[in-house]
Each structure stands twice: as C-alpha cells, then as structure tokens.
Amino acid sequence: MKTNPRTTVLNLTEEEFVYPGNRACSGCGLSILYRVGVKALGRDCIFVVPPSCLTVMQGLYPIAATQMPVLNGTFASTAAIATGVKAAMRRLGRETQVVAWAGDGGTSDIGIQALSGALERGEDIIYICYDNEAYMNTGVQRSGTTPQGSLTTTTPFSGKSEVGKDLPAIIAAHNPAYLATCSASYPLDFHDKLLKAKQIKGLKYLHVQTPCPPGWGIEEHMTVALGRAAVETGLFDLYEIENGRMQLSGPSQQLLARPALRPVREYLQLQTRFKALGDEQADALQAQVDRRWAGYRDRFK
C-alpha cells in the first residue's frame, strides 16, 4: 500500500466539491467533514445516502449543493444499495469508489442489518458513519449511540438512561478490511484515513464523531473545540483496526505521551445536553475513561 504524506492544510487539494450556501446549520460538524472528505475521495466516487442531515445538506431538488453523483435511498438499506451500485461498477468494469455515508441512526439502528450483511459479504465499499449521537435531522431524538445521560427530545428531563452502543466494536466483530474512528474536529486525520481506505479492498468503515451545535446545545463556534475535547478527555478515541490489530491513531496516539488527560467534566460542561447528568454519573464516566486509558498505556507504551 502506498503511504501518503500526512495531510496538512498546505497539501490539501484546493478544488472544492461542494457549492457554498448549502442547507447545513451554521457550525455543522458534518459540513467540515463532507468538504474535506470529498477532497480525499476525489471525483471518481458515487455516494449512497439514506435520510439524514446529509440528504438536506446535499440539496433539495432541483438544486444540488454537492458536485458528486448521489443516490438517495431508504433509511434501512444504505449498505445494500451501495452493494448494488458496486456490483454495477464491477459489471461496467469501473474502479469507481462507492461511498455509503450515513448518520448514527441510519447506521447503528435502522441500517445495522444491511450493514452487517455487507460486512459479512466483504463488499468493496467505503462506509462512513457520521455520529452526531442522536437523530438530529428529525430534531434530536435518542439513537443507539446517544451517550448515557444525554438529554434529547425523547429522553427529556433526566437524559438517556442506557449506555450508547459501541458501534465500532460491533463493526470490528465482523472483521472489516479497515476500520477507523475519526472526529469532525480533526478533518485532516479523517482525510488521511480516507486516503488509506481508498487503497484497501473490502469494506472500509469510518466512524466519525460529529459535534452538532443545536443537538448538543453548544455555540456554533464551539464545534471544533467540542470534538477536540471529546478526544482530549479520552471519551472518544481515535484508532484504526487493520488486519485485526487495533492501534491508537493521530491525536489520540499523541495523548499517550501526556501524563494525564483532560477531565471529562471539561467536555460535559460545555454542552447543555449533559446538564441533567449528576456528579455520580460524571464520576463513573471518568472512572471508565481512566480504566480504558490505563489499559491503552499498558498496551501501547
């Protein structure tokens, strides 16, 4: 595999693939990801998108904000539709990348069966899940990945009582060709990982934590700061799994060198969605992060 030089703002392609003035909310984490992600993917791609914020962001008929070919499909069948498009590309003798791009609801809940099928079949597609940790497009309802304690419109007053699904772990259990976790606040890391994914045969899964100002209750200018806080507090870890081997990557890997992580409260307190989270729950979360990171320090020292 070709090792690409690390992406920097200086070597990032200047060509834009999204028109300005799209319908994303201001401060949208997804709009950062999409803009930079398409730069990594290039024009020889076909996107498959289920209902999500991305559907709206890409444009309403007959006007498109995206310059990419897009097939919008039903909520539950993103990975299946992408399978069909890829099968067609093989029949046509084309190398075109097929990229499924879905939200956390479309991936961890309603779309998980089709994705599991595609993983088991080893479909040669890139699947990107932008995880804003609730059903944001329909107005912030709880999803499978919504973290415990988070306020949503369907977990009002006291927040979600259950722990969110560890979706990358579910995907990892299928032994995908490549798995990476990313953050909308580290778009260049996402870019690096997409460049790698493009070279690998089989199903490449990228799980991207994506801060959402209206859904998380943060100021629009805080999007990047929030995603960084999630990583720097050890709540959301950036890693890659290749050939079954997990490795911390980019910003998370650099944290190993630090004597201590930022306390999780620094992340929680920035968002109104966690205002119902009690001290005990925050302590439990901190303990959980500490345990996991103690494990990382043993494993990756």
């Binding site: 995206t66 070919p69 897009v70 499909g73 299946a80 399978t83 498009v85 093989r90 029949r91 046509l92």
Partner: protein, 404 residues
C-alpha cells in the same frame, strides 16, 4: 412446440432471467420462491450465466441491491414471495418512484399470520398501489415469456414490473414449455441503457428531497415538485398497457406465441355469464366453462386477467358489457370490504350503460384446495339462482370451500 422441455415454473422463471442477461441478481430465500434463486446461483456458478449474485441478508436488502444496480444502469432481478414481498414494500415504492426498470418474480403465497406457505394472491394484491406494473402468468410458458417481456416493458416505460405466478400450482409443478431461442431474445431485448445512470462523468443527485411546489433549477427551468413527479408515474403507467401490447406483438412475430398480454378471454364472445380470474385458476376454469356449456347448456366464458396494474378498465369493460352476469373469483381481498379484483371490475363497469350483475367469490386462501368440481357446482348454482337475488346480497363476497 418445436423444442419443448419439461421443467418447473421456478426454473422457467430462472431461464427467462438467464436469457434476459440480467447482470445483478440479489435474492433472499423464501418458500416457494427459493428454487428460482437456487437455479440462478447454480447457472452463475456453472459459468452458464454471466452475472453478479448477491446473497443478501433480507428481502429489503435484495430490493436495495436492485435499486443500486439499476440506478447505475445495470439490469437487475430479484424474486420473492409472501412476507418477503411485504418486507420489501418500502423499497417497492422507492423503486417505482425512482422509475427503475427492475423486474421481480413474485411466487404468490399467503401472508402470515398465521403462517401458511401455500398459495393465494394476498401478497401481490397488498402491493397493488406501490406503482409497480403487475402481471399474472397462468402457466409455465407464460412465466418464461412474460418474464422476458417484462424486462422489455420495464426498460421502455421505466417502471418496475412484478411477474406473478402461483406458488406450488405453477412454481413446483413440471410442465412442458418452449424456451425462447437465445439469439432471438438478444434481438428482442437490447442491452439496458439508462441516461440518468449514476456516473462521476455526469454527476446527478437522484431521489433528492422534493418540495410541495415546482421549483426553478439553476438554469431557470421549472422542475416538478413531488406531486408532478408522481403524476408522471401515474400517466405513464396508464400508457404502459399499450406498450405491453406492442411488445407482445413483437414477441409473437419473433417467437410465435402470445396475442393475449392484457386479458385472455376464453369462450366469452357469446357468453351470458363471464367468469373473471387471475393466474392458474383461470386455466382451471376453462374445463368448468366447457362442461357448463356442454352439460348444462349455459353460455359461460372465462376472462383471464393477465395485467392487474395498471388496471385495463376499458379493455375489460368491453368484454364484460355484453354479459348478463360477471363472476369474479379471487384469492385475495381487501379485508372488511370485498375482493380487490371485484372492486376494480365494478369500478371499471360503472361508466357503461349496460352493466352486468356482479358476483364475488373468495377461494383458495392459504392453499385451500380449489377442486374443479366445486368451481363447477358453485357456478351452476350461481347461474340458476342469479335473477332472483337482491343485488346487496350479491355484492358481498361469498367464501367458497369454508370448512367450519
């Protein structure tokens, strides 16, 4: 028949798909459809068919794969039955709304609950408003011929086509039929080309969110909103009756079979009483018609309906107007109302001055046997008592063959 073979209805369907050179096959097993997909995977594995076989994890995904492949300009096929069809219902609406020329065989089977693996038409009937063209074959020859013709129709009108045939009665029985010659099929069915196929060279965003009103595009051209787009589907579905007839004529000139693509009337010209039915039961009724004419001197005919959606109202009405009585026998219904086909026939006749009296019979649900003798007896009784019965009573469906 010049080169007949003896095979099952499911194999006839698979052979049609092979002849049609479908390139992406996605399927999930369900009784009694399973042998179609087994046969297709066997043909592909043996190198006798050049296609991608995608063993999906559900029917919803089977149609998802077909939607993806067809949107990228590649001919796609799937087959299902019963609850499998219902599980992909959302995708059926999507495929029709997206105007994708997918062909699917539906091996008709009852819907659970309770479970029944046996035949009736409730699966297809329940999906009649999805925007799919629905064809009903009544023997093995029609399965292979109509499935081939379905690809042509779907690609000409850009509407998906569902070819229905009865589970077990047709799917698992072995009958002689003639497979069309492969070279002639290639002439009959040119390669699929789709001008809106997904490609990076000419990027389009397909099936985007539409607004209630028509809107200007970037070039200032007014483009339809949801309602306009859906109106197109309805209009073009109506026109597909004529296209289906033209395809049949061409098929007939190439293969020497056909001539009754929309309806297939048997001894209806002078009939006082016309029976209407779909699928294999319509062929069974030919025996009943012959006996009623010969033994009882009753002028009876049978009208087989081959195309259920779009509903060929005018064509049906033309045949039925001259009859005094129309007996609609069907294997599916709109619960709480009456037989779905019966309701359609009634509405087709409403605009005409000479309206025959209508009778509705529900038969064979969940594979309950339909003995030819009982069809004969119910027809005979119905013909004898017809004129005295008040119409309200006649309008309610009569269930034939109840055992409790």
């Amino acid at each position: 028949m010049s080169n007949p073979i003896i095979e099952s209805g499911n194999v006839a369907a698979a052979m049609a798909v092979q002849l049609a050179r479908a390139e992406v096959i996605a399927a999930y097993p369900i009784t009694p459809q399973t042998p179609v997909t087994e046969k297709l995977s066997e043909l592909i594995a043996a190198g006798q068919m050049d296609a991608e076989y995608v063993a999906v994890e559900s029917e919803h995904s089977a149609m998802g794969v077909c939607i993806g492949a067809a949107s990228a300009g590649v001919r796609a096929f799937t087959a299902t039955s019963s609850n499998g069809l219902l599980y992909m219902s959302e995708q059926l609406h999507w495929a029709a709304g997206a105007r994708l020329p997918i062909v699917m065989c539906v091996v008709n089977r009852a819907i659970g609950a309770p479970w029944s693996v046996w035949n009736d038409h409730q699966d297809a009937i329940s999906q009649r408003d999805t925007g799919w063209i629905q064809i009903f074959a009544k023997d093995h020859q029609e399965i292979i011929d109509m499935t081939l013709m379905a690809f042509r129709l779907a690609e000409l009108v850009h509407i998906p086509v569902m070819v229905n045939y009865d589970g077990y009665y047709l799917s698992h029985t072995y009958m002689p039929f003639e497979p069309p010659d492969a070279e002639c099929v290639d002439a009959f069915l040119p390669a699929y080309a789709y001008k809106h196929a997904l490609t990076p060279e000419r990027p389009e965003s397909l099936n985007t969110v539409t607004l209630p009103d028509a809107r200007l595009d970037v070039d200032g051209i007014k483009r339809g909103g949801y309602m306009d787009i859906r109106h197109n589907l309805h209009e073009e579905m109506g026109k597909s009756i004529e296209v289906w007839e033209e395809i049949d004529q061409e098929f007939q000139s190439l293969f020497g079979r056909g001539g009754h693509p929309v309806i297939d009337p048997y001894r209806c010209e002078d009939a006082d009483v016309v029976i209407v039915a779909m699928g294999s039961m319509a062929n069974q009724f030919r025996v009943v018609v012959d006996r009623l004419r010969q033994d009882d001197g009753l002028k009876v005919g049978i009208l087989a309906l081959q195309m259920y959606r779009p509903f060929p109202s005018a064509i049906i009405a033309e045949v039925l107007q001259s009859a005094r009585h129309v007996m609609v026998y069907e294997k599916g219904l709109s619960y709480g109302n009456q037989g779905a086909l019966y309701g359609d026939i009634k509405s087709a006749l409403y605009p005409y001055p000479a309206r025959p009296r209508l009778h509705n019979f529900i038969v064979g649900l969940g594979g309950r046997a339909i003995p030819t003798e009982s069809l004969y007896q119910t027809m005979k009784t119905a013909c004898e008592q017809d004129l005295q019965t008040p119409s309200a009573q006649v309008d309610a469906p009569q269930w034939i063959g109840l055992q409790l």
